[in-house]
């Protein structure tokens, strides 16, 4: 980065003499301006701001030192956020999900889940959702939300009781087991579907600020890991959950995203989307 002037000029003494005023005054000018800006930015203006505190507090706040409550840096307001779900996606959470043991999960699933969701995870009829081909994160989040009471509506009372009896490790084991069941379902053509429903699913309706369902629930690699796959879920289950989101009864969606979306869908769109993605519930053959 540095660049050396070749000192090959004929008269170094003259050069130095020519340089001196420039070096001096440029340094003074540049330095003085910076010092004045620092004086105002770190002392005068912060002292004049509401917030108070002694001199050291005020200067530390202007520097942005954590703990000194810079109103810009740390929110400062009194409003507290109320997360919709107790699950936050951190490295630790992902590590816990990744530590799930599918063999232990299979054992547990047979004892706890199979009665309603079937030994193969495909559910028994339309009112018990299919658990296969979901990501481990999706299963993990829903079980945790049942456990914490974040997820309401539908059969949440039953599920809360079951989930509360499970440890975090057992939830991760179940998630690992179901994630390994069955290969991801591919999108299948729905021949007789209204074009507007297909467009809603694939492109969304930006004019109504509705994103495409596929952007989170499709098979793209960049979708949120915890968003459930909709393909081949029971239509009746999809419709029921969209209605619960629309009424606000189910509210474990981060940032209220699904509540926002479901509220703006018409009943016809809700049932159309449920048919587009889902399968009609059938009673599983007796075991």
């Amino acid at each position: 980065m540095s660049e050396h002037d070749p000192i090959s000029a004929p008269d170094d003494g003259l050069d130095r003499e020519l340089d001196r005023p420039w070096r001096t005054w440029a340094s003074i000018g540049i330095g003085a301006f910076a010092l004045v800006a620092i004086f105002f930015g770190f002392i005068v203006l912060p002292l004049a701001e509401p917030g108070g505190g002694n001199f050291l507090t005020v200067v530390c706040r202007a520097l942005g030192v954590p703990g000194y409550g810079d109103t810009a840096a740390e929110g400062g307001g009194t409003a507290a956020a109320h997360p919709a779900s107790g699950v936050t996606w951190t490295v630790a959470t992902l590590g816990q999900v990744g530590a799930g043991n599918p063999q232990a999960g299979a054992q547990l699933a047979g004892d706890v889940c199979a009665a309603c969701h079937g030994a193969d995870g495909l559910g028994q009829d339309g009112s018990f959702p299919r658990l296969t081909h979901q990501s481990a994160e999706a299963i993990y989040k829903q079980l945790q939300d049942y456990k914490s009471g974040a997820r309401l509506g539908g059969r949440s009372a039953t599920m809360a009781g079951i989930a509360q009896s499970l440890t975090d490790q057992q939830i991760a084991d179940l998630a690992a087991y179901y994630a390994g069941l069955g290969k991801p379902f591919a999108a299948h053509p729905v021949l007789s579907m209204t074009p507007s429903i297909i467009h809603l699913a694939q492109q969304g309706d930006p004019h109504r600020a509705l994103p495409a369902c596929d952007s989170c629930h499709g098979d793209a690699r960049d979708r949120p890991r915890e968003a459930p796959v909709l393909w081949d879920q029971y239509s009746s289950y999809i419709e029921q959950e969209l209605q619960l989101f629309a009424s606000g009864e189910r509210s474990n969606d981060d940032y209220g995203r699904m509540r926002d979306i479901a509220k703006r869908l018409t009943p016809e769109e809700i049932s159309g989307l449920a048919i587009y993605y889902g399968v009609v519930g059938i009673t599983a053959p007796a075991q």
Binding site: M1, P6, G64, A73, V91, A209
Partner: protein, 526 residues
Amino acid sequence: MWVAFGVFGLAAILGAWQMWVRSPIPAPFASPDTYYASVTAHGTLMAYVLTTLFAMGFGYYVAVSALDRPLPGLRYAWIAFWMAVVGVAMAAVTVLLGKASVLYTFYPPLTGSAFYYIGLVLVVVASWVWVAIMLIAMRGWKRGNPGKPVPLAMFGTVANAILWGWTTVGVAAELLFQVIPAALGWTDTIDVGLSRTLFSWTLHAIVYFWLLPAYIAFYTMVPQAAGSRLYSDLMGRVSFILFLVYSLPVGMHHLLMDPEHGSGFKFLQSALTGLVTVPTLLTIFTITASLEIAGRLRGGTGLFGWVAKLPWREPMVLATGLSFFMLGFGGFGGIVNMSYGMNAMIHNTAWVTAHFHLIFGGAVVIMYFAIAYAIWPRLTGHEAANLRQVRLQLWLWTIGIVIVTFPWHMLGLQGQPRRVESFDYSDPLIAGWAPWVVVSMIGGFIMLASALLFIWNLATLFRGAPSTQPTRYAMAVHPPRRLPPVLNGFGMWNVVVLVLMLVAYGYPIAQFFIYGSNQALVQRLD
């Protein structure tokens, strides 16, 4: 140059199409995916590729023509050129495949395909070769001409090369240590605060890197084209030095709404940003004075009579007039952006887009056109057959950019967000935006017409009389005979930049290492 202008043509098409998508009129191929891929491609090609390749090509041209010496390291220059071409191809193909729709400002923790970032790194590394060659060329000339002032065109070019060296450190650190490891899957988390801080280091200085070729033309080509002399060589040197010093420790005005920094640093960097008005005003004064000499020599009288007498038929003079017009409006808009308080009104709105399209797309790129028209005869060996098409192209560009950006400024004040694919114009709150978006879309197509005409002009016009004159840069009214070495080199100014950067960015970057960082999960888009 052809590569630069080729991608410019492609990106101009994308830009006009993007405005069509945002307008109430249904556009072909419109979807959020194509829109964001297109915005990424438009920004990447215009802001990184066009500018870097243009600056490199123009720098090589100046080094040979102003110093009157062969280019040192010609072989390395060609290697760097092909490296840049490969990098551009990698980045452009990745974006157009929709594998890196992260916008040209990257926005971690979003990460696209690693090919996109690695392609950009290749372009940056190629430009570092150019920086080295510029420094070696100036040093070689100084050795051969001890005590003599470096020609102003080369002085400005080396100022820009050094500025670029400093500028790229921030983004290179972000890409190499944060984004590329994330894109390759080596890391699952990224400290967004740190990466935004590093990007801000680059984000404002890069603007002056784009701008300086235009200023080099103002000082060294415009007075010559107008048949005049440069009013002051000293002002040119001081302006280039001030741009070098005050384009770097100022980038935090891009982070005024970000939570990770204290208000004191934001104020300090905003205040330092204000100083870039100084070289801009010095330049406008000096060049206007130089043109006034030309106008009076041609018989102009009175306070403004000389303006009418200027040789407006010369593309370089016409482009300068139009550029100053756009620079004036764009400059005042920019003062709003950099102000700690006022920025909040227009943050992330169409105002910001309007500002940099007016300054960069308008005032600067029109000078790229003028420079290309001025040096094409030397490169092709033929003068332009006629200049009418050239002037038409320059006028169309200016009219287009005014029609595009003036509505954007108004819409930005009304809160229209930038980088949004479509709007619900049936909502009465924003229904009033619709006609203005259509107006700016029309401006976009006028600009596109001008862009295509520019490429057509370069390809077809230069078939006239053989060009025999060597390139002449403007003489100063009082040509400097002996300069203090501080005004003839950059040793001291590099130290000043280092000190100011330590003051302005030292703690803001160090805090991420002192207090530990907040990691966000990487979100992969490829």
